[in-house]
Symmetry: C2
Subunit: 213 residues, 2 copies
């Protein structure tokens, strides 16, 4: 069965939402409860979950603990991922210390840069390695995910190095479309600002233009 990409994205949101319910000591939640917190429709929650199994009890809702476990299994929360950050600039440094990654299953185990000045320095407890040692380190440290946080001009070249090194996927913070044969997840920060700007300009007419525009 084909799982819609938006469903996969929402699985992560469900997981976080349920974690909060657990913290709050809630044992059972309905699709309505989840939907309200996430600003979506209850039928969407039920449909998303139904791709993977029957996790709820009619009349009762979902056991927070059970559903957490099921989703954890689906999105592979139990697995640990070793991550390399390429680019020891401001963004790369911030990501190396990013609590959202640290407290989850993503362990930053290496930082690379091509600047000999930066090599050997420590960022968030990790020594910066020269990019020429990428492949070696990937094998040695069993790195599966690479983060591209280098300037636009270097991004494609770096991506090819990464692909060649045996890394399995890329989180790409550069604004270009990478041409590689491994999965890439784009985080386009500038584009988010531009989209917001457009939305603000359009005001209440967001995404609506008059015929004569």
């Amino acid at each position: 069965m084909k799982i819609p990409k938006p469903t996969v994205k929402r699985l992560g949101l469900y997981y976080r939402c349920l974690s909060r319910y657990k913290e709050e000591g809630v044992n059972f939640v309905s699709s309505q409860d989840i939907a309200e917190r996430l600003n979506i429709k209850p039928s969407q929650v039920r449909k998303d979950l139904s791709y993977f199994g029957n996790f709820g009890k009619r009349g009762l809702g979902y056991s927070v603990n059970k559903l957490l476990g099921e989703i954890a299994f689906i999105i592979g929360v139990n697995k640990e991922w070793n991550v390399a950050i390429i680019g020891a600039g401001n963004l790369g440094s911030a990501l190396a210390n990013y609590p959202g990654l640290l407290k989850h299953k993503f362990n930053v185990v290496a930082i690379f840069d091509n600047d000999r000045e930066k090599v050997g320095k420590k960022i968030g407890g990790i020594t910066v390695t020269h990019i020429s040692d990428l492949k070696e380190m990937v094998q040695e440290k069993n790195i599966e995910i690479a983060v591209i946080a280098v300037p636009e001009s270097a991004a494609q070249y770096v991506a090819e190095q990464v692909e060649d090194s045996g890394v399995k996927g890329i989180v790409n913070f550069s604004p270009i479309k990478l041409r590689v044969n491994i999965p890439v997840e784009d985080v386009d920060i500038t584009l988010s600002f531009e989209t917001l700007a457009y939305t603000i300009i359009m005001g209440d007419n967001a995404f609506i233009l008059e015929d004569d525009e």
Copy 2:
């Protein structure tokens, strides 16, 4: 006429793509050229542009300069935006120096934090201000966009302060759904990692599960 949200997102991509063509000295491009670089279909490029006008010449394609101008007008590239960053941690600091914003139309003019230790220090040439002065600074510096780069636990509270201050839109780096009545653009870094992880796990069967799963 209603403009699909994905179309708005792509407008920013077209703009960048055309900027590169201009740098390369190219004067005319076809929808096919653009589509190839962006890994989308030519008919999508044409359809997206057709929401806003007839910018091309049949048989010839689009004038790079003219189309750049048209898109700049649509997405409001000519307007300058004053941006405040809330949260002077690693991520906030990185964003204050982020080249992708600096070289575009987004000027970071203020950084806020609630930590008295940080207030008064300089980040990327900007002095950190205490969050209690938010409203005052927003008026004074004409700030229209706020970036939320604070811990999850503070995000909703900060968002309400931001809304109250008169800011027009939020770029939200926290992992929660903000409940405010101004436009919000979410940048969910952790979710991008999770989605990538899922895609890697699924391998060639990405987003496909067998019936018996």
